[in-house]
Symmetry: C2
């Protein structure tokens, strides 16, 4: 049984237009991300061809954007997926250190988000309270 998130087979391929539609973005955005070095789809002649790994990478990118990561931060992270396969100790060590920094940064954002959420809840509570006091 294939998981619900994987409606399409693992060997499915997409054109720019198809993938853009599925991800809810424009083809311009896909081309822009490619120009920025975030993805590198293969080509059929001059036409871009995206596979399931490109798609997964894109979903990671879009998720990052939703909570405020810049494209250059995202580029660094997606680049690490490749770097983690290295066999040079030095590189693995600096990579691991950087990953620690990134994790700390993300946790800080998580706290900021949680605090904002609780403040919004407070406003809602005050709002509800006012409503209850009305005739």
């Amino acid at each position: 049984m294939t998981p619900a998130t994987e409606a399409s087979p693992a060997d499915r391929l997409w054109t720019v237009g198809e993938l853009a539609d599925e991800l809810g973005i424009t083809t311009r955005t896909l081309r822009f991300y490619e120009a920025e070095g975030l993805i590198t789809p293969s080509r059929a002649g001059s036409a871009r061809v995206y596979d399931h790994r490109d798609r997964a990478r894109l979903r990671l990118i879009l998720r990052g954007k939703r909570f405020g990561m810049s494209l250059s931060e995202i580029r660094e992270i997606v680049g690490m997926y490749d770097g983690a396969a290295s066999s040079e100790r030095r590189q693995l060590e600096t990579l691991l250190a950087r990953l620690g920094e990134i994790t700390a940064d993300l946790r800080a954002r998580e706290r900021d988000l949680a605090r904002t959420l609780s403040e919004v809840d407070e406003v809602a509570a005050r709002c509800q309270q006012r409503l209850d006091q009305l005739p």
Copy 2:
């Protein structure tokens, strides 16, 4: 005993420069936020004077920015602090509904952030595993 987050008395006042320094931003940013209707400090002649409520509002704004809220989204939320004191049922109801939408949006971002965090953790784990396999 005053809380640690409140090193300064409740009646303290700040100039633009002082507050900018304390918040780690520039005076330009403070003026920009004012022009955008996010804050409205009082004036001493033509000079801006910020009190502890302005400061709290600013900290809320900056927190929002850190996880990707736009200034217009933030403006809407800070504006609700005032609207929640309304006494018109209609307004309180629409406000409460909007607060629900905002909460849902923030929770979605929270999920995106959590998923990204766990993916980063996975990369770190793979990285560590590679390191352990080295001589």
